[in-house]
């Protein structure tokens, strides 16, 4: 009996002590393991969530839940009249994180900014190739090597970017993950120690959370960074529990093993919504699912044929069957939540009879073609195979015979780019920086062979695209892009299928989580009530 009592007392003491030490913790069930914690070499959304959005900050930041930019590490900036020089005034007193592996001796300054970009740009920098085979895909993909002329340190807290040509999306680009600011002092320390690899394994930034530990493929732990320039976070510990299967993530959320999860499977959403302990936030995704015709091959080189095929498709049936109500019919190549979206454009009506007549008028008889179906599920198109089947049935009604083809994912995209590709190719896009150009570039002449699967080079559209890129005034750009959308709809290089909704299920005790249109998962400002 005495023994039992002693044990009970010990248990009580342990639980009281444990309770005192209980930190406020948020567990996020994430979908994949981060490749590393350097924010710039990788391109996956899960890499960004685990590195740039937690540990780091940028010169400019996207406003929480919006695609507009706000001051970040730069408290102000000026742009020269010719649009070639951007001068940023850095926020004074910004602290890099102090951990058991790095203690900064100075605050953030212009050297850090210059280093953050030059390591991705200058091949002579030892940091350019500190990771074997790193291509700095985003820096290159956003055209920075050609865009940047030089980055000049004006003084400790002033830095000037000189461009080779005007680029209106330059500021939103700087809010992107690859443009996160890293510590030059930390890099120098690792240089001296000969342990450059550690830069991506034990990260140092100026963001809301500091890195604590990563158990490969299992758990990433962060702690609130006391010195964060935006103020200390309300939660003490942030934990990413890596759970690849969406159904298992949903079970973990229901069982209380995590507080919030990413990317639920469409089939699980109703069950999560019905759970009394959970809430499911939703938002229009900044994305588009489309089907691109090969506009260089007959009969798809004729606008009337493309229009007729578009009119033959019952989009509502696709939205009901595949998106299960979590999407809206797409009219334009950019989503309605984006600025410059042209509301006046009407979608091609669903009219099989008219479509049939248009095909006959265009002299097309007994058309057989291929419909390409992606082998993977994507937020913008959860089941391309099913979409293809529905379109196939719709086409049959106007006398068009369609064969569905699919290949392994990388092979699929590779074959889709080929100039002699037959038929209509399903794909989609999710925005990077909230700029309309980040969607419309997919249809640019330069993008043929890369992301322009319609192999469509329309001079009128291209001229507007280029004009938009060189214009800084937002009102004027809006007009240009509205006009570009008119050209797009008239020429119909794509069947615009849908913009999908994105869901974020979480426990009701989580507050302050704001869904991000760019698909980023940010945990600054989040709180949990115990």
């Amino acid at each position: 009996m005495k023994k039992k009592l002693t044990f009970a007392a010990a248990l009580l003491a342990a639980s009281v002590l444990g309770g005192m030490a209980n930190a406020k913790q948020l567990v996020y069930c994430s979908e994949a393991s981060p490749a590393g914690f350097d924010p710039s070499p990788w391109s996956g959304g899960n890499d960004f969530d685990a590195s740039s959005r937690t540990i780091y900050s940028r010169l400019v930041e996207f406003e929480h839940g919006k695609t507009t930019i706000a001051p970040g590490l730069a408290e102000s900036w000026t742009v020269s009249d010719d649009g070639l020089e951007y001068t940023f005034k850095l926020r004074p007193g910004v602290k890099f994180q102090t951990t058991d592996y790095f203690t900064p001796t100075r605050d953030l300054n212009a050297d850090d900014v210059i280093f953050s970009f030059e390591r991705q740009w200058k091949k002579e920098s030892p940091w350019f190739s500190y990771l074997e085979g790193t291509g700095w895909e985003y820096f290159t993909g956003m055209g920075f090597p050609d865009l940047l002329k030089e980055i000049v340190k004006v003084d400790d807290l002033t830095v000037k970017f000189v461009l080779n040509k005007p680029e209106v999306a330059f500021l939103p680009d700087l809010g992107m993950d690859f443009a996160s600011i890293v510590s030059k002092e930390y890099a120098d320390q690792l240089d001296k120690a000969g342990t450059r690899q550690q830069f991506t394994q034990k990260p140092i930034g100026t963001g809301p959370f500091q890195f604590v530990d990563y158990q490969v493929d299992a758990v990433v732990r962060y702690a609130a960074w006391d010195g964060y320039y935006g103020g200390r976070q309300k939660i003490d510990d942030l934990i990413f529990a890596i759970t690849t299967d969406p159904a298992v993530r949903a079970q973990k959320l229901k069982a209380g093993e995590c507080d919030i999860m990413s990317y639920p499977a469409p089939a699980d959403i109703a069950g999560l919504q019905a759970d009394p302990n959970l809430k499911v936030d939703e938002q229009e995704g900044l994305n588009i699912g489309y089907m691109a015709y090969n506009t260089t091959l007959p009969p798809f080189d004729k606008v009337e044929v493309r229009k007729a095929l578009n009119m033959a498709v019952n989009k509502q049936a696709i939205l009901d069957a595949v998106y299960q109500g979590a999407g809206q019919a797409a009219i334009n190549p950019i989503p309605p939540t984006m600025w410059s979206y042209n509301k006046d454009i009407k979608d091609d009506p669903y009219d099989p009879d008219a479509a049939k007549k248009m095909l006959a008028d265009a002299g097309v008889k007994d058309l057989s073609m291929k419909i390409w179906a992606m082998p993977v599920s994507r937020p913008y198109n959860p089941n391309a195979q099913r979409v293809a089947e529905l379109i196939q049935a719709d086409y049959a009604k106007i006398g068009v015979k369609a064969e569905i083809v699919s290949y392994e994912w990388t092979e699929y995209r590779e074959r889709g780019k080929q100039k002699d590709r037959d038929g209509a190719f399903q794909l989609g896009w999710t925005g990077d920086n909230g700029d309309p150009d980040n969607f419309l570039f997919l249809l640019g002449c330069d993008a043929i062979g890369q992301s322009n699967y319609a192999i469509w080079c329309n001079q009128e559209f291209e001229a507007l695209l280029q004009k938009g890129k060189a214009t800084t005034d937002v009102a004027e750009r809006t007009k240009i892009y509205e006009e570009a959308q008119v050209v797009f709809k008239r020429e119909a290089p794509w069947l615009t299928i849908a913009h999908s909704k994105v869901f974020m299920p979480m426990n009701k005790k989580v507050s302050g989580f704001v869904m991000d249109p760019l698909g980023i998962h940010r945990f600054d400002g989040v709180d949990v009530t115990e």
């Binding site: 342990a14 913790q25 567990v27 994949a32 393991s33 490749a35 590393g36 070499p41 391109s43 996956g44 990771l131 074997e132 085979g133 790193t134 291509g135 895909e137 290159t140 993909g141 690899q197 991506t200 394994q201 530990d213 158990q215 490969v216 493929d217 299992a218 758990v219 732990r221 934990i239 529990a241 890596i242 759970t243 690849t244 299967d245 159904a247 298992v248 079970q251 973990k252 229901k254 069982a255 093993e257 290949y407 392994e408 994912w409 990388t410 092979e411 995209r413 590779e414 780019k417 794909l427 989609g428 896009w429 999710t430 062979g449 890369q450 992301s451």
Partner: protein, 335 residues
């Protein structure tokens, strides 16, 4: 015995080369390549693509690439992952204990349940127990692991709340791994409740992973026992008036054990293959999940080296089983 061992070892060398070649070729036969996989939907310009191919050396003849790879492997350098830029051997060492722990527990479950079930089924041949056991074994053998795992999660974790859904230990327990085996590390950590948490996290994945080997072991034990039970010496033992338990346990089972031991040895390969799916469902950070990720990313280096390391381990285990087999049955040494 030494000759036998040398003979076995001599067989392993060409097998290792064969496997290294197969692993090297397999991942390159898959459509796509790591550069395209890393580029994602954004794509990559043809010039940039050519530059990266050049940098990784994928434009050189396959023979040269293979010989270079083998040369490096022979010096113990398994390369650096294309996706994560970490050394493959380091990643393997970090993740393998998780797989080993899961596979060991699964094998223990399979043996502890499979062998007695097989024996009883054989002894009570044709009875309802025999039919039920073999029916369950066949179901277990044919059940898709993914579905089975999810079903158990939904029932035991979701509905009953008896076991955790996934992971290796409760997130409140945070300590640096000492051995990589969570059951041991949780004990060493001295944190109260840590061991219990680690053990409860093991239950469902171990059951799922044990299902197929258990079915195979039970069926093999049953058929081996049936064969032995019909032998003359068993009849003699019975005729001598020995207790049935003694006849089955001592005379029959010992002789039936040889094919069963071989079967258990062969299950190592099944466990490694099963671990791939089991780990994916239960977010178990082991080498199975690692390989799946690497294949999806066309991470040539991880796939070819990972497969080779796994094959080496499976072969080493099989060698040990062969040796033990020779110890159990001296006739094999002579053959």
């Amino acid at each position: 015995m030494l000759r036998y061992l040398l003979h076995k070892l001599a067989l392993i060398i060409p097998t290792v080369f064969g496997i290294s070649l197969a692993a090297f070729a397999f991942v390159r036969l898959l459509p796509g390549d790591p550069i395209m996989a890393l580029a994602g939907e954004r794509g990559v310009s043809p010039e940039r693509y050519a530059e990266l191919v050049e940098r990784f050396g994928y434009n050189r003849p396959y023979v040269i690439q293979y010989l270079e790879y083998i040369g490096r492997v022979l010096t113990g350098d398994f390369g650096i992952s294309i996706a994560t830029k970490r050394p493959v051997l380091g990643e393997f060492q970090a993740l393998f204990p998780a797989t080993l722990e899961l596979a060991t527990i699964a094998l223990i479950i399979a043996v502890l349940i499979g062998i007695p079930a097989g024996i009883f089924a054989a002894v009570k041949r044709g009875s309802w127990f025999d039919q039920a056991t073999m029916g369950v074994a066949l179901t277990g053998y044919s059940m898709p692991i993914f579905w089975w795992g999810l079903l158990l999660i939904i029932f035991f974790s979701g509905y009953l709340g008896w076991t955790p859904v996934s992971g290796r230990i409760g997130l409140q327990y945070f300590f640096k791994p000492t051995t990589g085996f969570m059951l041991i590390d949780s004990l060493i950590s001295g944190k109260s409740g840590a061991f219990r948490s680690a053990a409860s996290h093991l239950v469902l994945p171990a059951i799922v992973l044990a299902t197929i080997p258990l079915a195979v072991i039970a069926r093999q034990t049953r058929s081996a026992m049936l064969e032995v039970l019909g032998e003359d010496y068993v009849r003699t033992a019975r005729a001598k008036g020995l207790a049935p338990r003694r006849v089955i346990g001592l005379h029959a089972f010992r002789n039936a054990l040889i094919p069963v031991a071989t079967t258990i040895g062969l299950q190592v390969g099944t466990l490694m293959a099963g671990a791939i799916l089991t780990e994916t469902i239960f977010s178990w950070p082991g080498i199975g999940k690692w390989m799946i990720d690497a294949i999806a990313k066309r991470d040539y280096v991880v796939v070819q080296s990972g497969l080779l390391i796994i094959a080496l381990i499976v072969m080493a285990v099989n060698l040990i089983v062969d040796v033990l087999y020779a110890v159990i049955n001296p006739r094999i040494r002579v053959q």
